[in-house]
Amino acid sequence: MPTIPIVVLVLFSAVLAGVLVLRPAITARPEGKILAFSVLFFLPLFCLLVGMDNEMERSKSTAFCLSCHIMESYGKSLHVDDPTYLAAAHYQNHRVPADEACYTCHTNYAMFGTFKAKLGGLRHLYVYYLGTQPRPEDIKLHEPFNNRECLHCHLGARSFEEGATHNADPATLPAIKANTLSCVSSGCHDVVHNVGHLDKVKLWKEAAQ
């Protein structure tokens, strides 16, 4: 649901709550009681739920993640004009939705994955506002990247299942699927964001627009 109708609904509810605060006597009549129940129970909870849903959806957006300046270089890394940059290749070729690029790869595709991602986000906020901000190139994942997040899309894909490198050794593919050999292992897809080297790479033209 778009944000503006929700804001209008919230403000409308706030106006009704204001009327009730200024004229509590109207609750003496039956219609006033119905109004009070709507304004003091139903509407605020409805607004809270709809607003929460809106906020949760918005928190998945690439723009939301990149709105913290510490993430700017990670946003820039999506525009590197080099197909070996994993994040850039996914973003530029729409292998992930461009407007939810960060969330698509960095959420956990297990039960409560979204919830865990939000908890991780709260930790980021704590560090951003109250802690010591690391340099962008020093930022590390909370835990090693799980192949599950890659296999969520790539499992069963021909390019993955029949890829020459993946099948050069018969043990490779099962190891990837079992998460015992990481997709981002050294020598494989190990160039992901590499924000420490962005000053040495060419950027895709979209970045200049």
């Binding site: 003091l40 605020p44 929460m52 709105s67």
Partner: protein
Amino acid sequence: MTSTGKMGRRLEISGTLILLGLLVEAICLLWSRPIAFVVFVSLGGMLIGIGVLLFLYSLVTLDQPPNEHIS
């Protein structure tokens, strides 16, 4: 303070809390920053939650019919 006056006072407090919570929500919805998400959930949610609970509490504790003897 009479029962009705007490109820009116609680409705005022409840309404004020909900009004503030809704205003916080509206601002957060228009303010697209990560901190807005936290303010929305913590401050907005808390104000609305307390307001609604106070309203429900006032419903169950006031305006009770007088006790009648059952014989």
